[in-house]
Structure formats: structure tokens, C-alpha cells
Symmetry: C2
Subunit: 196 residues, 2 copies
């Protein structure tokens, strides 16, 4: 996973390992974290695989830092990964879906759309599995003695509905503004707004 994230970050320009971390932090950082302990070894690995290369030390700029550049093979490998179907059912954690979509701007439009259509299909399937489960568990007894167990199922259902809504939007490249127009609320929770 991280290897592709790194390639993705290098896709738009040469970076040091240190920079890669920075770019991850204020890019996908919201939903994906990486430490130096994984980034540097990953860069070494990518170097061995010729997917990135070290820039020749140009100019007088401060030595001791290593600028990495993605190679043509690197670009190919990255685009290949991006073009591979996204997994719905993220029960293995590590939301690779978002990580992939994050980079879709570099993909040809038709491929990005195909990916999202396929992803939507998988999610619809998964939602139907959850709905079937719900029906099979649906009894007053369950709703009383197993309220919280059931609640996790309903959470899954809610999330899948929302995911589908998002898919339909994203795959047509519709603006998100209107989808979230109910927007500015959720501020009865002061704390992010430290004015006391």
C-alpha cells in the first residue's frame, strides 16, 4: 500500500523522504498515516525495483539530502495499481479505496469513471448482504437484548447508503456542494471554535 502512496506523491514532482511524509500528512493524512520508519525503507525498496531513482545532486544545494524522482516504470506501476478495481468491504481496515480515489485526478476520465461505477456496484452488493443479514436477525428479542450488536449492523447499512450516494456523485463528477448543502451546522459542538 505505502509503496503506491509514495509513488503517487512523487507523481507530480521530485521529493525527499522527508517531503513525502509532509505531503502525506497534509494530503491523505486525514485518513492515512505513515511514519519515517516505513517511508525510508519503502523508498529503498522502490529504488531497488527501479520505480524511483535518485536525482543527481544538482547545483550547490545542501548536500546530505536525497531527492527522489519517479521513473517511467514507476509511473506505469502506479497507474496500473490505480486502474485495478477498488475493494469494497474494507473489513481488513486500511481504507485503500479513499487512498486510490485520492489520486484519480491523474487517471484518464473514462477509467476513473469505470472504477467508480464498479466500486459502486460492489458496494450495492455489500449493502444487500447487510440488508439480508438485517432481515435474518429482525426480531423483537434481538432488538431488545442485542440492541448494540444490531446497532453495528445498522451503522454498516447507514455507511453503505452514504457511500453509494457518494459514488453516484463522484462517478459523474457532480459538484459536492449541493450534496452537503445542509452544511454549516454541527456547531452546537463549540470546542473547535475556541471563543470562550
Amino acid at each position: 500500500m505505502l509503496n503506491y502512496i509514495v509513488l503517487g506523491m512523487l507523481f507530480n514532482g521530485r521529493l525527499t523522504g522527508y517531503d513525502v511524509k509532509k505531503w502525506i500528512e497534509n494530503g491523505i493524512g486525514v485518513f492515512y498515516k505513515a511514519s519515517y520508519g516505513s517511508i525510508y525503507p519503502t523508498l529503498k525498496l522502490l529504488l531497488d525495483q527501479k520505480l524511483v531513482s535518485l536525482c543527481p545532486e544538482e547545483e550547490s544545494s545542501s548536500r546530505q539530502k536525497k531527492l527522489y524522482e519517479i521513473t517511467p516504470q514507476g509511473r506505469e506501476a502506479f497507474l496500473h495499481w490505480l486502474s485495478e478495481p477498488i475493494e469494497a468491504d474494507d473489513s481488513g481496515g486500511k481504507q485503500s479505496h479513499l487512498a486510490k480515489v485520492y489520486f484519480f485526478d491523474v487517471l484518464p476520465e473514462d477509467i476513473a469513471e469505470r472504477q467508480l461505477v464498479e466500486y459502486e456496484r460492489k458496494n450495492a452488493l455489500y449493502l444487500n448482504r447487510l440488508l439480508a443479514l438485517e432481515r435474518s436477525f429482525d426480531s423483537p428479542a434481538n432488538h431488545q437484548q442485542h440492541y448494540y450488536k444490531m446497532s453495528t449492523l445498522y451503522y454498516g447499512i447507514g455507511i453503505m447508503r452514504e457511500t453509494l450516494r457518494w459514488c453516484r456523485h463522484a462517478r459523474m463528477k457532480l459538484p459536492f456542494r449541493e450534496l452537503y448543502e445542509g452544511g454549516e451546522s454541527d456547531d452546537r459542538n463549540e470546542e473547535s471554535n475556541p471563543s470562550h
Copy 2:
């Protein structure tokens, strides 16, 4: 993580390692997977820690199978874990939130509620971070050249809204029926319904 899941499964009765796998599969299996390669070593570990014990081989029942039972210390450790705050911001993958909530039926009502209130608060905070990010990125240029990057942010926002909705419901133990009454749709996706 898995150690607590296993304790949770043993909370309502003695099981073999094999059974534990089964129970995980058709319990939290929807959002959490575990393999024998992790379950058996985990049981050994829990045994060393005296959090589970081996049942004396009763009756004539088929030998070669090992029935595990949770010990009082095991119960205590499990309830302690359950009572610890749930982490919002699941960027480390492994949705521990759902795993915890799944077991809340064994928790005293007031503690379960406190947990969910706290979880809701954290999620509201996180949503506000996302909304702040959105505002900082909000420009026509971004919405064009970085449509997909932005889309992942909107996905996060949508998911957090849905999560909050769910929290408000679950913490008051309201029925989910009404929340998802728009229900039975999503069947223009035939495939789970093999009638062709």
C-alpha cells in the same frame, strides 16, 4: 485488539479456538476478520495471562479439542477495555469502534451511554476539522483540477455526518427502524437476488 474480541466471544460461554473463529465470522465478521494463525496464538497468550483457562476435560466428549473459558480476571480486563474511550479518527484502519460497540450489550447502560456520548463528541470535533479543511481548500481551481482529491474530503464529511446521526440514535437506544425507513430500495442492483 484480537485478544479482546476473543474475550468478548468467550464472555457468554466456553468455546474452542475453532468455535471462536465461527463466532467471529457470523458476529462482527461483517467488519472484522481473523485467521486461525492469529486466534490460536492469541488463546495461548490469554492462557499465559490467566485471562482464560482450559476447561477440565469433562465427560466422554471427543478428546483432542480444547474448551476455553474466560476467567474472572478475563472478564475484568474485557470490561475495562470496553469502558475505555472509543477512538474517533480511525486513520489507523481496524475499526475498533464497531468492535467495541458490538459488545456493549454486556455493559451497564449508563457506561455504554457515556461511551457513546464521548464518541459522538470526538466525531463532532473530527467533523469540524474536516469542515475547516474544506473551507481552506475551497476554490474553483481545486474543484476542477483536484476534483477527486476533494471528493475524498467530502466522503469523509458525509461519513462523519452519518456517524453522528448514528451516535445520537444509539446513545439514546432509539429504534433504528425509523432512521432507515427509506429502507427496502437499492434493488435496482439485482445481483444479490439471483432470479434470472
